[in-house]
Every structure is written in structure tokens, then in C-alpha cells.
């Protein structure tokens, strides 16, 4: 650590242009300690990157090339045939429409679920902070505690409830379920955010005679853009990646992309086409990956915010 101390001391000099030789003698970049640190990090990076590489490379190969048996090799003649097939004509059981219906189903599930769940959670958080009523904190505590109950415990009764509501096997059912199970974490997120806003704002609006909804839409919402972005990232990736609720509640004609992907790969008949499988896998991962790379540090912030639950 003593080395870090001196490194830290000389940090401003190394970042800018070279100045006069002052302070402690700069350490060479390749100290044994640095080599160990970087090689461990490098080794782990290989572990994390390898599947991505394999996925992409395999999807660009032809089947004879894959049967040759070198998972590392770059494709001899990269082509997107497998991608086209995965998207439009790979078979899941009897129907051979590829992943595209699943993609659109996922879009149809993700967009409304995200909007509804975030809106409800934002209102919850706002009510919990600014309009406390008897028992509101107890409900919130149960909500947070409930988020740890395994989904399997509540699954069957929820199937019965959605059947009673005549929405089982429809998009509405999946949207409802995502709203319900997204509520704990999102409510916590908004509650903590609204708690950090100055109370004076709310009080001033109250004095001016603004009511519950007016304050929410005209004061709170415009101020909560950052937390909305975090919630958005959390929900889009979470809902897109969901498998269980899609299988149970969506019904076969609305099956989201993850479900179709799993069907294409794991219940295909005949010889498996690994290039198509990997192309389908990449395609399914593309949306959350795009969200991840575009959002950058906001994604991390979302995770950190989610982690302080409880």
C-alpha cells in the first residue's frame, strides 16, 4: 500500500504534461505488484469476455466449419446466414418463424410493463414520503420483505387470480405480474429519492394550495429525471431478461424472446445447428447489452441503488 500512497501523491503530475522534477521519484510502471494486479485482472477479463467471443464467432461460422471442432477459430468466411435463420426461420417445435415473434412479444411486454410499474412505484414513493398515512410504513416494510419471497411461492395463486380476471395467457397478465414484482425495488428507489429532496419545496406547494396530484406532476416529476433513468434501466433489462413469468403467464402466442430462445435451442429436433443457436442467443442478448453499454455508469448506479434495499 505504501506504493499506492506515493502513486497517489504523484498522480497529478502523471496525468498532465511533464513538469519540473519534484516530489518523490516516480515509480516505474511495471513494478512486480502492478504486474500481479494487471495479470489477475487480465485473466478474469478473459473469463468474462470468452463467452461473448465464442458466441459471436460461432454465429458467423457455417456448420461444417463448426463440426471441424475449433471453438477458438475465427470464421473463415464470416456470414450472417445463421443470424437470418435465427431471426426468421428457426424452429421452435412446430412453428418455424424464428425469434422475430418473440422479439416483438418482448417489446410488447417490456414497454407497457416498464411504464406502468415505474409510474405506480413513483406515486408510491411520493405518497410514502410526503403523504404518510397510518400503516403506510408497515405496508412498505412488508413490500420490501415480500420481495425476498421466492416467486414460486406466489405463482400458483397468481395463476388462479389472473384466470379469474380472465387475463391469464395474455399480455395484460404479464404486465400485471411485472408491475407487482417490480414494485418493491422501484418503490424503494423512488422513496429514497424523494426523501432526499428538500421538504420545503413540498411544504411551499402545500401552502400555495396544490393537491396530491398537482404537486406530484408539477413539482416532483420534473425533479426526478435521474431516478427515472435508473428505474428505466433496471426495468428494461429486468423485464427483457425475464423467463419465468413469460413462460407461466404470457401464453404460447405471446411468449417473450427468452422463452423462444430456450425453445429453439433446447427443444429443437434433429441435429442441432450451433451457429443458429448462438446467433439467436446473441440476438436475445442484444437489447440488454445495448442498454448496458449506452447507459454506462447509470447501470452501475441502478445496481447500487437496488442493492441498498432493506
Amino acid at each position: 500500500m505504501s506504493q499506492t500512497a506515493t502513486m497517489a501523491g504523484s498522480a497529478p503530475a502523471t496525468s498532465g504534461e511533464v513538469v519540473e522534477a519534484r516530489g518523490p521519484r516516480p515509480k516505474p510502471f511495471f513494478t512486480p505488484r502492478k504486474i500481479v494486479i494487471y495479470s489477475v485482472l487480465f485473466f478474469f477479463s478473459l473469463y468474462y469476455l470468452f463467452p461473448l467471443y465464442v458466441m459471436v464467432v460461432t454465429s458467423l461460422k457455417t456448420m461444417p466449419e463448426i463440426r471441424f471442432g475449433n471453438i477458438f477459430a475465427l470464421p473463415q468466411a464470416p456470414n450472417f446466414d445463421a443470424w437470418v435463420k435465427a431471426w426468421s426461420s428457426a424452429c421452435t417445435g412446430l412453428n418455424c418463424q424464428g425469434l422475430s415473434p418473440g422479439f416483438w412479444n418482448s417489446v410488447k411486454i417490456t414497454i407497457p410493463s416498464t411504464i406502468v410499474s415505474i409510474f405506480i412505484a413513483a406515486v408510491n414513493g411520493y405518497a410514502l414520503i410526503n403523504w404518510r398515512f397510518k400503516g403506510s410504513e408497515i405496508f412498505f416494510a412488508i413490500l420490501i420483505f415480500g420481495s425476498f419471497i421466492p416467486y414460486q411461492v406466489m405463482l400458483y395463486p397468481l395463476v388462479m387470480i389472473t384466470r379469474e380476471m380472465k387475463i391469464f395467457g395474455t399480455l395484460q397478465a404479464v404486465i400485471l405480474i411485472h408491475t407487482v414484482f417490480g414494485m418493491p425495488i422501484l418503490t424503494l428507489l423512488f422513496r429514497n429519492y424523494f426523501a432526499s429532496l428538500p421538504q420545503e419545496l413540498f411544504k411551499a406547494a402545500r401552502v400555495d394550495g396544490a393537491g396530491f396530484w398537482r404537486i406530484f406532476f408539477e413539482i416532483m416529476l420534473p425533479m426526478s429525471l435521474p431516478i427515472f433513468v435508473v428505474a428505466l434501466i433496471l426495468q428494461i433489462t429486468g423485464i427483457w431478461n425475464d423467463f419465468l413469468f413469460g413462460v407461466v403467464f404470457a401464453g404460447t402466442q405471446n411468449a417473450p424472446m427468452t422463452v423462444q430462445l430456450n425453445n429453439i435451442v433446447n427443444s429443437a429436433q434433429g441435429t442441432p445447428e450451433y451457429n443458429v443457436n448462438m446467433a439467436a442467443t446473441v440476438l436475445t442478448g442484444l437489447v440488454p447489452l445495448a442498454v448496458y453499454f449506452i447507459s454506462g455508469k447509470w447501470f452501475v448506479r441502478g445496481i447500487a441503488a437496488g442493492a441498498v434495499k432493506g
Binding site: 475449433n70 411461492v153 442493492a307
Partner: protein
């Protein structure tokens, strides 16, 4: 902080001292209407559905949840089923290994990243991206990599390392480790982010003081920093622990419980009995056992966190 003036003001507007019922329903009415979805979720889903499941796990429901009360029959049958016992054992083994390795690797990576290294954000990006992917994607990629004939094993054998063996996914004894490789790939980055936040939360003064006292770095980590990160560690354990109990998608995508029943997990058992086995009572009993497991993790934590002096948020 605890005293929000707003509800009181709203109360004053109504006529002198409203009755209890009136206060309960009409005081602060818009807020209560707005909170209805939350109240409904809590009462119907988290409380109602859970109680329903526990109750019906004591019935002999088959295709429909209409059976009559049979006491602990379902549980006796549950623990007499080898598939369930394998599932539980797998969960215990996989869960403890996954928890330990995720925490250790996550902490190690966070410490390394915290050494004022170059390309910090590049390393972080690389480590965290698997977490953005679904378990289905994770499972399918690793299923392909670990494919015995054309995956890593086949490749290295073709390249001349003829006795190289990496067929864990097809080997009942090793399949849990195959799951572990995929699970760690997905989750360690997340743990690293949590730990890094914890490390960065430790005051620099602490480090300076330790340095002045000549305490070696590793010692500072173990004796000072880790105890100071108690909050983050507990949070991580609770999140990872309840995630492990839920483990379902990864198994479905990676092995689908195979070879044989050697990688079955409780969540999958519940699902199969409820939705394809046509034995609801059995599925509900298994689900109740899952609930019990989570309670065993959660109750001590909740007690530590909120016990004693009421809610602390």
C-alpha cells in the same frame, strides 16, 4: 425526518376531531387512493398468496386446488422423493459454493480495481456486462462452450491435448461445477460493484492511520476494512442468498436438470409439479419449503437490521 408536517395539515382542514372511521378512510384520501396498488400488492400477493400456498400445501390437491386437508402427507412424500432430496442437496452445495466464491471473487476484484489502476472503467465494464444478460443467454452460451465434442474439450483435444477433459456438463458428479462456472460468470461482476462501493465508502483517514501504524495492507483489509464493510457484506449475502434459492432459469437453459436428475433444483421441482406434473399439493409443499429456506436466511438478518430499536431506514 420522522415528522412530516403534511398529513397533519391535511387533517386540520376537516371539521373538529373527525371520528376514527372517518380519519381512517378520508383523511389524506388522494394518497390512500394512490397507494391502493401497493396495498393490494402487499395484501393480495405477498401476504394473501403466500398464506394460500402454505394452507393448500396441507391438502391432497391434484389437478385443481380443491383437495381435502391431509396434514403433513405432502411433506412426507416430498422428502421421500429422491428428486426432491437431490434438488435440496444441489441447492445446498451449489448455493454455498456460489455464495462463497461470488463473495471472494467479487471482493478480490474490487480490491484490485481499487488500487488506482489504469483502464479501471474498461475492466469494470468487462466484468459487469454478463450481469446485464439473462440467465437463459448465460446458460445457453456456457452449454455450447462446455459441449463435450465441439466445445472447449473437443477443441483442445483437436489441438493436440488428447487427454484434456472438461465434460462437467455431462458428468453427474461435476455438473454442479459447470453450473458454478456459468453462475459466477453472471454474478461476480455484480458482487464486485457492491464491494467496490463498500471499499470506496471506507474513509481515507482509516487507511492513513493504518499506514502510520505500519499495519500491512492485507492486515488492514482483513481486520479493519472488512469489518467496516459489514453493511455491504450483509446486503450482498442477503441478495445473493435469496437469488440462489430462486435459481431456475440458469438450470433450465444450461442442463435442464440433467444428466438424469443430477442438477435439479427446488424451484424447478415446484414448477414441474405445479404446471406439468399435475400434482399441485406436492408443488405447493415444495414451494413452502422454499419459503422456509428464505425465512431462515431473512429472519436473522431482519432481526439484526430492524430488531431492537424498531425501524431504521
Amino acid at each position: 425526518m420522522a415528522d412530516t408536517a403534511a398529513p397533519m395539515e391535511a387533517g386540520i382542514e376537516t371539521v373538529d376531531r373527525p371520528g376514527l372511521l372517518q380519519r381512517l378512510f378520508f383523511h389524506n384520501l388522494p394518497a390512500k387512493i394512490a397507494a391502493l396498488p401497493m396495498v393490494a400488492t402487499v395484501l393480495v400477493v405477498f401476504v394473501g398468496c403466500t398464506i394460500w400456498t402454505v394452507y393448500y400445501s396441507f391438502t391432497n390437491s391434484k389437478l385443481l386446488p380443491t383437495g381435502k386437508f391431509v396434514g403433513f402427507d405432502q411433506y412426507e412424500r416430498l422428502f421421500a422423493t429422491s428428486r426432491w432430496n437431490v434438488s435440496v442437496w444441489n441447492l445446498v452445495l451449489y448455493g454455498s459454493m456460489s455464495l462463497v466464491f461470488t463473495l471472494v471473487i467479487g471482493f478480490l476484484l474490487a480490491v484490485l480495481i481499487d488500487q488506482k489502476i489504469r483502464f479501471e472503467s474498461a475492466f469494470r465494464t468487462i466484468m459487469l456486462y454478463p450481469f446485464a444478460l439473462s440467465f437463459i443467454v448465460t446458460g445457453l452460451v456456457w452449454q455450447w462452450i462446455m459441449n463435450p465434442t465441439l466445445g472447449l474439450q473437443g477443441t483442445l483435444r483437436n489441438l493436440g491435448w488428447t487427454n484434456f477433459s472438461f465434460d462437467w456438463i455431462a458428468n453427474p458428479r461435476m455438473v454442479l461445477f459447470a453450473m458454478l462456472i456459468a453462475g459466477l460468470w453472471h454474478g461476480t461482476g455484480f458482487c464486485m460493484v457492491l464491494m467496490l462501493a463498500g471499499l470506496r465508502g471506507v474513509d481515507d483517514e482509516v487507511w492513513k492511520a493504518a499506514r502510520v501504524d505500519g499495519i500491512p495492507t492485507w492486515r488492514t483489509y482483513i481486520s479493519i476494512v472488512i469489518p467496516m464493510m459489514r453493511g455491504v457484506l450483509i446486503t450482498a449475502i442477503v441478495i445473493l442468498g435469496s437469488g440462489v434459492v430462486r435459481l431456475y432459469d440458469l438450470v433450465v437453459a444450461l442442463t435442464n436438470g440433467g444428466p438424469g436428475i443430477s442438477s435439479e433444483v427446488p424451484a424447478k421441482y415446484v414448477f414441474n409439479y405445479m404446471f406439468s406434473g399435475g400434482n399441485i399439493g406436492q408443488g405447493l409443499a415444495a414451494a413452502t419449503m422454499m419459503l422456509l429456506t428464505v425465512l431462515i436466511i431473512m429472519v436473522p438478518w431482519a432481526y439484526l437490521e430492524f430488531g431492537g430499536k424498531g425501524k431504521r431506514t
